[in-house]
């Protein structure tokens, strides 16, 4: 499976997480299935209730509002994103432990180096991590 991410949506995600730096930024990702994968249709910036450089928690009230908006647009909620301000773009032990939604795609943007690194993962059984191919379009 390939996830296609329009460059302008990548920029939206990047700007949000950079604005939140040094705290972690988080959000939701909407998309639609295509022939060979998923195309991201929008990203929704969310409040990190933890306001922390090492943790994030989304606000359920915001989540419910976004879920309905995504549905009304005819898209699917395909997953979420968060930044790692000081660590690589890979699921931490906490990311895995809290990955309750096996259907979600977990986008992690690392800001630890000058060049940001965005990767996408599926996480099964709160431990089995698979990187998903991500293409900027």
């Amino acid at each position: 499976m390939i996830i296609k991410l329009p460059k302008e949506l990548y920029q939206k995600l990047l700007k949000h997480t950079q604005a939140e730096f040094p705290n972690e930024g988080c959000g939701l990702v909407a998309g639609a299935k295509t022939g060979d994968g998923i195309e991201v249709k929008d990203v929704y910036t969310m409040t990190n209730l933890d306001a922390s450089a090492e943790h994030f928690t989304m606000d359920p009230k915001e989540q419910f509002a976004v879920v309905k908006e995504v549905r009304n647009k005819g898209y699917d909620l395909i997953g979420n994103y968060h930044s790692h301000p000081f660590t690589p773009s890979r699921p931490s032990e906490e990311d895995k432990r809290l990955a309750y939604d096996e259907d979600a795609i977990y986008f992690i943007l690392s800001l630890k180096d000058e060049e940001p690194v965005l990767k996408a993962f599926s996480i099964k059984k709160q431990k089995d991590v698979t990187q998903i191919e991500l293409e900027l379009i």
Partner: protein, 72 residues
């Protein structure tokens, strides 16, 4: 009776509690979901006491959180 769950029409034979509905919806970890009933977010402690009635609209979603946890 008919309700809506996450925007989809669902037909139930009888009234269920929110906890029972989550089981019916194959939610593996009901303790880790947030539930909205007719636009109001429910306290998790009330899932087993709150009865879903005909025409109700239920939304549920998993807790979303995580984080880098430890600086490398």
């Amino acid at each position: 009776m008919k309700i809506k769950v996450n925007g989809e029409a669902v037909e139930l034979e009888k009234e269920l509690t929110v906890s029972e509905l989550l089981v019916k919806q194959d939610v593996d970890m009901p303790d880790m979901v947030s539930v909205e009933l007719n636009g109001e977010i429910l306290d998790r402690d009330t899932f087993s006491d709150t009865v879903v009635k005909d025409g109700d609209q239920v939304e549920f979603l998993y807790f979303m959180g995580g984080g880098a946890s430890v600086r490398f």
